[in-house]
């Protein structure tokens, strides 16, 4: 691995200061599971690695009636070990359960997964479906942005020099809502998503009609996609195979995957449709079970 220096600040202010140093060659590190590998293969060339795990608020979780706040460095396992979070924000814990294997989940964080900004990141479609807000600290103070606009391309996002994500905020869940994330991979575990789909739905009290929906797709474009047309195909409609198929078709239509070793364009578009229908179905079942 290339030579770099290491710092482990204990406050956000200190971290911001460190990240401004080294002419832009300072990188924040949470779990390190992406960063260390990327430094090793030479994709990242930091001169300074800033370990943000020692900052108390970065590893805090706060679940309340107003929503969920997750420190950016909270490792995945802490999310799915929490029964309340698993019940309310199922899509997110679905994601947290399948980011790498258990060993990776001991360290990898949702914040890191988001900031790595890989198009196939497993937690980003879930964050989009659940309406997450990203809290960013930087030299000019703190700002909040919708997760929908956070990623801008493969490995690219809106963070500016000196900025880093400190927290992810998720709004409280409406009654009769359910969410789910699934990805399509050739093996059962530990593959990069060929297609990923995150869905959140809210049904009426009878569980028969879609009241609200949000759908996001991963791995089928240069960045995670917000599938508004697919969600619109559900909202106000009866829960039925036909409705779900319409939404799946709308999702399929916006997918613009590339041909690579994970699959051809045609294959990945096809799977987008199949998977979207399956994930909507799962979200509906969860909404009905609440």
């Amino acid at each position: 691995m290339r030579d770099f220096d290491y710092a482990a600040p204990t406050t956000v202010a200190e971290a911001v200061q460190l990240l401004q140093s080294h002419n832009g060659a300072a990188r924040p590190m949470a779990g390190g599971t992406d960063l260390i590998d990327q430094v090793r293969v030479g994709r990242l060339t930091p001169d300074l690695v800033v370990d943000i795990k020692k900052i108390p608020e970065l590893t805090a979780i706060d679940f309340s009636t107003t929503g969920l706040r997750i420190g950016a460095a909270v490792p995945c396992y802490r999310l799915y070990h929490d029964a309340q979070i698993t019940a309310a924000y199922s899509a997110l814990t679905d994601s947290a359960t399948i980011i790498g294997g258990i060993q990776i989940q001991s360290r990898a964080s949702v914040g890191g997964n988001l900031c790595n900004s890989g198009p196939a990141a497993d937690s980003t479609p879930s964050l989009i479906a659940l309406g997450a807000i990203v809290v960013i600290a930087g030299p000019k103070g703190t700002r909040e942005v919708s997760v929908d606009t956070f990623c801008t391309g493969p490995g690219k996002n809106i963070l500016e020099r000196g900025e880093f994500v400190v927290e992810i905020k998720l709004p409280a869940r409406a009654a009769h809502s359910g969410s789910a994330y699934q990805r399509f991979i050739p093996r059962n575990e530990m593959d990069i998503a060929v297609v990923g789909v995150g869905v959140s739905v809210t049904l009426d009290a009878a569980g028969q009609n879609f009241v609200a929906a949000k759908i996001a797709l991963g791995a089928v474009a240069a960045k995670p996609l917000v599938a508004d047309a697919a969600a619109k195909a559900l909202i106000g409609q009866a829960v039925s195979e036909a409705t779900i198929q319409k939404a799946a078709e709308a999702a399929r239509a916006i997918a613009t995957p590339i041909d690579d070793m994970r699959g051809t364009i045609e294959f990945r578009k096809h799977v987008t449709g199949v998977l979207t229908a399956r994930v909507i179905q799962q979200a509906v079942e969860r909404a009905r079970a609440t």
């Binding site: 691995m1 290339r2 030579d3 399509f184 050739p186 093996r187 059962n188 575990e189 530990m190 593959d191 990069i192 060929v194 070793m261 699959g263 051809t264 045609e266 294959f267 096809h270 799977v271 199949v274 998977l275």
Partner: protein, 728 residues
């Protein structure tokens, strides 16, 4: 008495250890982290070496400047491989991604990496060809070579008159050996120009000469040690150019040098199994008997050969009228090495998928078609038809073939997930390899053996200990097995499943020879008939009567004890060769996503006399899972545009994980007739059938053949789409 003293195994019913399930004796070291593999050798002052490889498929090296690496503090030596040596005549042309250019040895691994990065290498990129499947494109580029054609009978006539004719295309892509412990050596020069090597090798006794030649020293000055090693699968027989590099850098620096391949280089440069594709037409009469076979197969083993030869097709079977042709594609891909049962897995896929499709065309049960044609395996070995028949019956019962079978594509289930059954058969030699050993009985009764063989994870140590303990009537703990050093009597490399036969035969001979001497001494001392003596439960007995303890008998050997030599192989019935095996798969295929899951996989295997059922079964389980790997997910992916091996890492080189394999049932076919054949090697045969058996099961589930293995979701969906008239 002497005429009765013939080498042989005892009656099966009398065995205390042989044939039982016994833990491996080196297990403690392996589960506790104490086992030292080559990568674990860290003698004081050891330097770490890292490699610079060329990542172009075809290029001319224009410039190589290693001086910047040499200037880095902590870098101790830079070695230039032949491909990077611009001073050598005709040098500088690179033919595949992964070619070794230079190595850097340094105080710390990361400094060696800094050194590698500092080297300046400039290339002129040349035209390449990496598509091993596209015969026409290769022909157009002049990158093919005919490697053989032969025929017998009247193929054209037989196809004309055949009741059922099927024309098909099948294939299997290239895979890498992917040993979890990569190839590598730790080289240290000792006093008197002695080179002390720890190597991850399948060839302890054969390595010294391979180092001695290039280094210009005597083979007698090379010590080779391999106590533990992390898999070889046919790829670890040679000193290899990286081994020579380590030895030379150790010489130059006067320090030990450890050079283990990095994961990418291990996948690219340390061995692959060649691809194979086939166009075949075959015909059967009204009974389902195959009467004609006409095929052309091709594939690539790299730039200079190594593709699948013409012989061996059709696999196991041979037909009265048969024509076969083979072509080699000279692609810009890494070279091949023997991969577990070469090249049977490919032959099995190329043959048995075609037979299964013929069954589909005839509307017959695949089981019946294989059964009808078993007689046509007799050319491979006369006993095979009977063995296969018996094994097919067992396998069919274990998987529930009769209850579960439906004609191809006729799963009555309504959902997207379809179920299917498939089968295949295989054969392998597995005769005993050359082996010499010494068995030493100390005056205190302790027993020690010495052999220049190796335990590549297969259980060689355990097999030797069981053989000796059984022969001497002692517990396993009384035996100390020494192997993994070329200072012990020479033994063949572990390839071709010849090790268990080789070491068990030789050690039995050495042990029986020793025992007879002890019997003579005991007979003289205790005034009993030596011909009545046996060694049992730590004693020498005559019939039911205990004559003396093993210790008392050993004391008769005097202070020097006794050392006997065992050799082999020999035609004395201790070992034999030629096994069959039948495997069946029950799969589910999601026709919407193309995902194939194994519900149940049955392997029935004969292997003569079994020394340790536990390690024997381990081999079968392991082979089956390795087979599931190349059947479903594992392949080398070459990027046609750049010519690069783009999945040379363990994220993208897709081995199955522990949740991907389904239920596996292993059954060893071992009637007394098998026991009396003696020991036959087992490591390779069970890895042969999975590709064909699983492909056939998928074809049965869908009614559509997915022609090329591995059966990735995308290939499954493409085959389904093509069958419905869509684009492939």
């Amino acid at each position: 008495m002497a005429e009765e003293r013939k080498f042989g195994w005892g009656p099966r019913k009398d065995n205390v250890l042989i044939g039982k399930s016994i833990q491996r004796i080196d297990g403690f070291e392996k589960v506790s982290g104490k086992a030292q593999y080559t990568a674990d050798i860290n003698t004081p002052g050891t330097l770490y070496a890292k490699l610079l490889t060329c990542t172009h498929a075809h290029a001319k090296l224009k410039k190589l400047d290693v001086e910047p690496a040499k200037k880095i503090p902590g870098v101790r030596a830079v070695y230039i491989f032949p491909a990077g040596d611009l001073k050598a005549e005709g040098a500088g042309e690179i033919f595949w991604d992964g070619t070794l250019i230079a190595a850097v040895a340094a105080d710390r691994p990361e400094i060696a990496e800094d050194g590698v990065k500092a080297i300046i290498a400039e290339y002129e990129v040349l035209d390449h060809i990496v598509d091993e499947e596209d015969l026409k494109a290769a022909e157009a580029k002049g990158a093919t070579k005919a490697v053989g054609k032969n025929a017998k009978g009247k193929v054209e006539d037989a196809l004309k008159t055949a009741k059922h004719v099927h024309k098909g295309y099948y294939g299997v892509h290239t895979i890498s050996h992917m040993c979890l412990e990569p190839h590598g050596t730790h080289c240290e020069w000792k006093a008197d120009e002695v080179l002390d090597i720890h190597a991850s090798t399948q060839n302890v006794s054969g390595l010294a000469g391979q180092f001695a030649g290039p280094l210009g020293i005597d083979a007698a000055k090379v010590l080779v040690t391999a106590n533990f090693e992390g898999g070889g699968f046919g790829s670890k027989f040679a000193a290899d150019e990286w081994g020579i590099a380590a030895a030379k850098m150790a010489k130059e620096t006067g320090k030990p040098v450890k050079l283990m391949l990095d994961r990418a280089t291990e996948l690219k440069a340390a061995g692959t199994r060649p691809s194979g594709y086939i166009d075949v037409t075959l015909g059967a009469d009204e009974t389902g008997k195959i009467v004609a076979w006409d095929s052309h197969h091709w594939g690539s083993g790299g730039i200079s050969g190594g593709s699948i030869p013409v012989g061996g097709i059709p696999y196991v079977f041979d037909f009265e009228n048969r024509s076969r042709t083979a072509t080699q594609l000279n692609c810009n891909v890494g070279p091949t090495r023997a991969w577990r049962a070469p090249p049977h897995p490919q032959l099995c896929i190329l043959t048995h998928c075609a037979i299964d499709d013929l069954a589909m065309k005839m509307g017959k049960d695949s089981y019946d078609v294989f059964l009808t044609n078993l007689e046509q395996t007799a050319g491979t070995a006369a006993h095979l038809p009977e063995t296969y028949k018996a094994e097919m019956e067992i396998a069919a019962k274990l998987i529930g073939w009769k209850e579960k079978w439906h004609p191809h594509g006729k799963d009555a289930g309504k959902g997207a997930v379809k179920r299917g059954l498939g089968m295949a058969l295989h054969t392998w030699g597995g005769g005993a390899g050359g082996c010499a050993c010494n068995v030493k009985i100390h005056a205190d009764g302790s027993v020690e053996s010495f052999v220049g063989s190796q335990d590549i994870g297969t259980g060689t140590r355990t097999v030797i200990a069981i053989t000796l303990a059984e022969t001497f009537g002692l517990p396993l703990t009384a035996i100390k097995v020494n192997l993994g050093s070329n200072q012990y009597p020479a033994s063949a490399a572990s390839g071709g499943s010849i090790t268990v036969g080789g070491v068990s035969g030789a050690h039995r001979r050495a042990a029986q020879t020793a025992l007879w001497k002890i019997f003579d001494l005991v007979a003289a001392k205790y005034k009993v008939d030596a011909g009545t003596l046996a060694a049992k439960e730590g004693s020498i007995v005559s019939g039911d009567k205990k004559v003396c303890t093993w210790k008392q008998a050993s004391m008769l050997l005097g202070p020097m004890g006794l050392e006997t030599k065992g050799e082999g192989p020999a035609e004395d019935g201790l070992t034999s060769s030629r096994v069959g095996g039948v495997q069946m798969a029950d799969v589910s295929v999601d026709s919407e996503t193309g995902i194939v899951r194994i519900n149940k996989y049955v392997a029935v295997q004969d292997c003569g006399l079994i020394i340790d059922e536990l390690t024997a079964k381990s081999q079968i389980y392991g082979a089956v899972i390795m087979g599931i790997a190349y059947a479903l997910s594992e392949e080398r992916v070459m990027d046609k545009k750049t010519g690069r091996y783009i999945n040379a890492d363990l994220q993208n080189y897709k081995l199955p994980r522990i949740g991907d394999i389904g239920e596996i049932v292993v059954n060893i076919y071992q009637p007394d007739s098998e026991y009396s054949r003696g020991v036959i090697g087992l490591g390779e045969p069970p890895v042969i059938s999975p590709g064909a058996a699983i492909s056939n099961a998928v074809a049965n589930a869908l009614g559509v053949r997915v022609p090329v293995v591995p059966l990735t979701p995308q290939r499954v969906l493409a085959a389904l789409s093509k069958s419905k008239g869509g684009a492939a």
